[in-house]
Symmetry: C2
Subunit: 325 residues, 2 copies
């Protein structure tokens, strides 16, 4: 049995999810790799990078390290899964890993959206794979669908609910007649919103995600500073009521559209018809509609966040790389 050895950077919400799924589904993944490739392979975590080795983790101590060099210098490690988040040291680690001939998988939307194709370039130069399905809309396999399933199409528009926190807040306001502040409080109490919720409710999180999808669909780099962006802080009970009275719903949409050769991106609350497929996406769910010339309109919906849903998307990338090494 050949072992595909991987390292996981970070053991937070998503990192623990990845560790758990890889443990619990070890046999299933082995079978699936065999079915797909005819090869006897199993995926094994060899190292996990954590910040404080003295903290108590539910993991074999042997696996843990505080030193990224331990991972970088280990030639048996073929895949590095970056789940620290944030700009640095995540970016440095990913670049170093690629230069050391390791494939990289990440869920780090910020780095991908802001790095202007740098990571893709380094991956290409070093002939390694760089995958990031989990960076947009959690379990919703939107990146694979754009890259593979819709490959014979020209995409004209992508429109999505890609932030669960704001969709939860708007759903709560719509279905339970709550004010923005009440709905935000409820999201915070349930752990759907952070104590500083600005990245979600002011639209930065959605902006990073639509920038990533737009780059894939339209093959253009995007200047994040130039994108029109409006959050949901100002939405009132009256706005919600007025929309309902005209059979509409207010949804926080991230959109990218090709118009006369130019890609126009926006992030803002939009009134959509209550029959529109995105109108009925409730709570913390995410959904993306993709319009294209041959396949018509496709909609994908699923959990946008959470330990296991996000980890499920990371594991699909690990499987994909492990099947092709």
């Amino acid at each position: 049995m050949e072992k595909i050895q991987i390292a996981v950077l970070g053991l937070g919400t998503v990192g623990s999810g990845v560790k758990n799924i890889l443990q619990e589904k070890k046999e299933l993944l082995k079978e699936r790799i065999f079915q797909k490739t005819g090869l006897e392979r199993e995926i094994e975590i060899k190292k996990i990078l954590i910040r404080d080795i003295n903290k108590v983790y539910d993991v074999d101590k042997e696996l843990l390290t505080e030193d990224f060099e331990d991972i970088l210098n280990d030639d048996d490690i073929k895949i590095v899964v970056e789940l620290i988040g944030g700009n640095q040291p995540a970016t440095d680690y990913m670049i170093k890993a690629m230069k050391a001939n390791k494939n990289v998988i990440t869920a780090n939307k910020l780095v991908i959206a802001k790095s202007n194709g740098l990571l893709e370039k380094v991956a290409k130069e070093n002939d390694v794979r760089f995958m990031y399905e989990a960076s947009v809309a959690g379990t919703v396999p939107v990146i694979k669908v754009i890259n593979d399933s819709l490959v014979g199409n020209s995409i004209s528009k992508i429109s999505g609910i890609v932030n669960g926190t704001t969709n939860y807040i708007l759903s709560k306001m719509t279905n339970e007649n709550k004010s923005f502040e009440e709905a935000l409080k409820s999201a915070q109490d349930l752990g759907f919103a952070e104590s500083d919720p600005s990245s979600d409710i002011d639209g930065d999180d959605s902006l990073y995600k639509i920038a990533i999808l737009s780059k894939l669909a339209f093959s253009t780099e995007i200047d994040l500073e130039k994108i029109s962006k409006q959050g949901i802080r100002h939405i009132t009970k009256t706005d919600i009521e007025n929309a309902k009275n005209s059979n509409k719903r207010i949804k926080f949409l991230a959109q990218a559209e090709k118009k006369e050769g130019k890609v126009v991106i926006s992030v803002s609350p939009v009134e959509i018809d209550s029959k529109h497929p995105l109108a009925n996406v409730e709570g913390a769910m995410n959904a993306v509609c993709i319009s294209c010339d041959n396949a018509g309109e496709i909609m994908l919906q699923g959990a946008g966040a959470g330990s296991r849903p996000t980890a499920s998307a990371v594991v699909s990338d690990i499987f994909s790389v492990a099947s092709k090494l």
Copy 2:
């Protein structure tokens, strides 16, 4: 520039769609293969099998042949795309192609559902690929999602609207208060239903599709004869009204569920809550919900039939094979 040469069997609705997309997107596909693999490759149709060479086709005559042996004996052809449909000669052609070391792609749900894993077995024995995304739910990338995106999950249930004709009829009955007969007539006038619509409205078509999904999700062969199946002929205006009055919708669902270790499959009209994601899938659209342990519930929606939508799914399989040869 390396050419990946393919043969297309059949030049009907889907076959013409595939030919058109491959012509129109030649450059795009070349770019995408290069992006994905770094290889300079283009996909080229070398032969098209048709029944009557004297019929007028909108294709270079040089490409056409009435004789499958021309394709079988051409070692340059690496991919055979079977779009004749029906059991024979489609099955023979696919098996012969695989034995001649050619990869096979098909949209033939009947053969896959009824052949009890034979084609997969022959593909494995001959170390070629066998792909069939277009066989279930047209553009909806449900096979890729089960095989790849949800690989780190145990699936518990699949529930889908996988037949556009019956969904069109039920939508028409629900939204326009038509009788079954009136709605069927309208579907036939628009070309959504065939003059003999029994395979759609009695559920055989849905049965083949859920059998395929079930086999992929639960790794079990299915005895089609044993599946409980009920069509929609008996649905009355009163049934539709009663459902609406209790905030429900009647949808024709194909379902497969794992219960106590056993897989239970059914095809029947079901009353579902009007808030259920499948309740709002209208007209000839298809949609599939997949419930699993880590990713939670995922829904995929798109055009279930038609020349270009179905061909778009076939082209994604061609791309996938062409990227890996």
